[in-house]
Amino acid sequence: MGKIAILEVREGKVLDALSRFWHELLEKGLVDALLIPQELGEGKNVVQTLVSHPQSLERPDPLAPVLPVNSARIVSQMTKVAPSPRKIGVVLRPCELRALVELVKLKQASLENLVLIGIDCFGTYSVSDYGKLAQESSSPTQDFLKAVKAGKQDPSLREACQICEYPTPMNADLVIGLIGVDVEKGILVEARTPEGEKILEALDLKPSDEKEMARREEAISKLVAQRTKKRDEVLERTQSEIYGLEKLLTLFAPCINCRNCKTVCPLCYCKECFFDSPTFEVEAEKYLGWAEKRGTIRMPTDTLLFHLTRMNHMALCCVGCGMCQEACPNDIPVANIFRLVGLKLQGTFDYVPGRSLEEELPLATFKEEELQEVVER
């Protein structure tokens, strides 16, 4: 095989082993730069950084259980205008990778010259929860990995993560495998593309055996089953909370039209949002007309219209990263709502966002013979 190797971990120091790995990528010139999360502010947060010199790679920690932004947005920002001229290794979680694949299909990002390094994900905390953990411990990441190894499931992880059925990366060149792996002894590095293999060959790593892989596969399916079960439970609850106009309006009553959910969403792809356009700039007379017709109108207007439109525009591509939820100042369960709507919609078109670069976006393509029932009953 030769496509799977083990990154040796000494004295249980997982981050040190990985740190050597990242340094080597830069030192050997296998990548010209790395987009990688590093600790910031005495460890209070871990944010994406773009690093071009190995000596500047100070505190990389892509395993830290926190996701301040979905980095697909960052990669899009960097490659939307023109693809990268030099090789960048981008270290992403599965939901970030999936969102990136969707953005590429939406022509909002380019994978040219990118080496996609996906890492297994056990879930993440909100930024504020992570900050608290960082104050109590010198390495929340090590603690987290220990807890995972002991089979503990922290109910304070973000709910979006607890119900995420894609804990391993899809469409990566290299995968940093943690699930089903005794990370205190070694981390699995898997090359899934020729590009990934080239890098793996250039690094001096121990080859892995098939037994290790089988163990990993088994652990992954167990975790996926567990999360799928949880997802179904949670979304069933969401369905009952949301079903019908009355409940829907109650759920969105705390919405203040800040549109944070749109701002942080990696898949709200429009360069200019329709709701920020002059379409919605109308004179007082119009408002008065609406108010007269209904007696009262909620101000600002179009709260529900905004959310329903957003669903129509991006729910098919929704990867369930839950960033919208994190950004909502009033704890509206937007992530669960979009997850629920998205899942049903994706089922209609047999589409899994982030699964494949070749699969066309359902709304950008069609079949001549299909969906007749929508047109004639």
Binding site: G244, L245, T348, E368, V374, V375
Partner: protein, 142 residues
């Protein structure tokens, strides 16, 4: 109140090349059909973003009729096929949220089918009369 007092309002988003022309034909040949539709001309059913359908419904329209060319006849080759996917998605979303997706109709009516246009409006109007007013009208908190 007697039932006939409710006159539904249908917003028609009609393709310039077919259904809008069909509406014209129905008029010039003096076909009788209910005056409940408010036609809006669009260049193609494929240019109808769901936001317009939703806006009509949330503003209190009782029904929305999106009219396009028959499959294979789209002036822009495939706009109507894309409209069909978009409206399928819209209906799926309304369905998941427990909103009435049958207030949205997508129909293929060619420029020659004045009668089909008149019949469709008649049928939709009767259906909506039976179904009753759009419940969204009762709420101001949208």
């Amino acid at each position: 109140m007697p039932e006939e007092e409710f006159e539904p309002i249908i917003v028609g988003l009609l393709c310039h090349w077919c259904t809008y022309t069909a509406a014209d034909l129905a008029g010039t040949t003096r076909m009788q059909y209910p005056p409940n539709i408010r036609p809006i001309r669009t260049m193609c059913s494929g240019s109808v973003d769901p936001v317009y359908v939703l806006r009509a419904l949330l503003s209190g329209a009782d029904g929305v009729l999106v009219g396009g060319c028959h499959p294979g006849d789209c002036h822009y080759v495939s706009g109507n096929f894309k409209a069909r996917r978009r409206m399928t998605a819209l209906k799926s979303i309304l369905n998941t949220l427990g909103l009435e997706d049958d207030r949205v109709w997508l129909r293929w009516i060619s420029a020659a089918e004045g009668k089909k246009f008149a019949d469709t409006v008649t049928e939709f109007t009767q259906k909506l009369k039976k179904q009753g007013p759009n419940p969204i009208k009762k709420y101001w908190s949208i």
